[in-house]
Amino acid sequence: MILAKIIGDVVSDHKISDYKGIKMLVVQPIDPDGSPNGKTFLAVDGVQAGVGDTVVILDEGGSARMLLEEPEIFTIRAVVAGIVDQIAMDGLE
């Protein structure tokens, strides 16, 4: 998984049926200190996350199907899997 910050929502009316009712978010990969690292991309929301949240993102199709409880959807890969409360390093938070 990678650390990322949610920086936007994506609205799409016209999309393939797999994506009906699914919330898409714009995410910015970040370093543990919160600074951006790498290009933004889109991820499907699996945990009711919102803009501003620091999250972990799973980027693997089979895992995405499990996480969304959607075994028949083969078109989703990157999913927001958890909202980060805390990162602990060397006793620091």
């Binding site: 998984m1 990678i2 650390l3 370093d31 543990p32 690292n37 699996g46 945990v47 009711q48 999250v55 972990v56 799973l58 980027d59 693997e60 199709g61 089979g62 895992s63 995405a64 499990m66 996480l67 999913v79 899997a81 958890g82 909202i83 980060v84 409360d85 805390q86 990162i87 602990a88 390093m89 060397d90």
Partner: protein, 100 residues
């Protein structure tokens, strides 16, 4: 598999129920030639019982789901081993017993 150093833990109380019970570790990739961090970070599920500061390697993609800790669970990066030693061109660049 990719070599990395465990920097810390990541706590996420709101997460997919499928991920309950997994320990999330923050891992920085390392360059084994210098043993320095590459400032590239991933969050991995711990499949090997790793601790902070340990050198580990992790499996990515769907392969990460094939450990006891991740069986039937979503994971795209799983720590599969704690490294005891790394040898390059005949020299030990890392030896856990003496470096740790």
């Amino acid at each position: 598999m990719i070599l990395g150093r465990v920097l810390g833990t990541v706590v996420a109380s709101r997460k997919s129920p499928r991920l309950e019970g997994g320990k999330f570790l923050l891992v920085e990739k390392i360059d084994p030639a210098t043993m320095k961090g590459k400032k590239e970070y991933i969050v991995a599920i711990d499949g090997a019982g790793a601790g902070i500061h340990e050198i580990v390697f992790y499996a990515t993609g769907s392969c990460g789901r094939y450990t006891d800790a991740t069986e039937g669970k979503p994971s795209d990066a799983t720590i599969t081993a704690i490294v005891d030693a790394i040898e390059i061109d005949g020299d030990y660049v890392y030896n856990k017993a003496t470096d740790a």
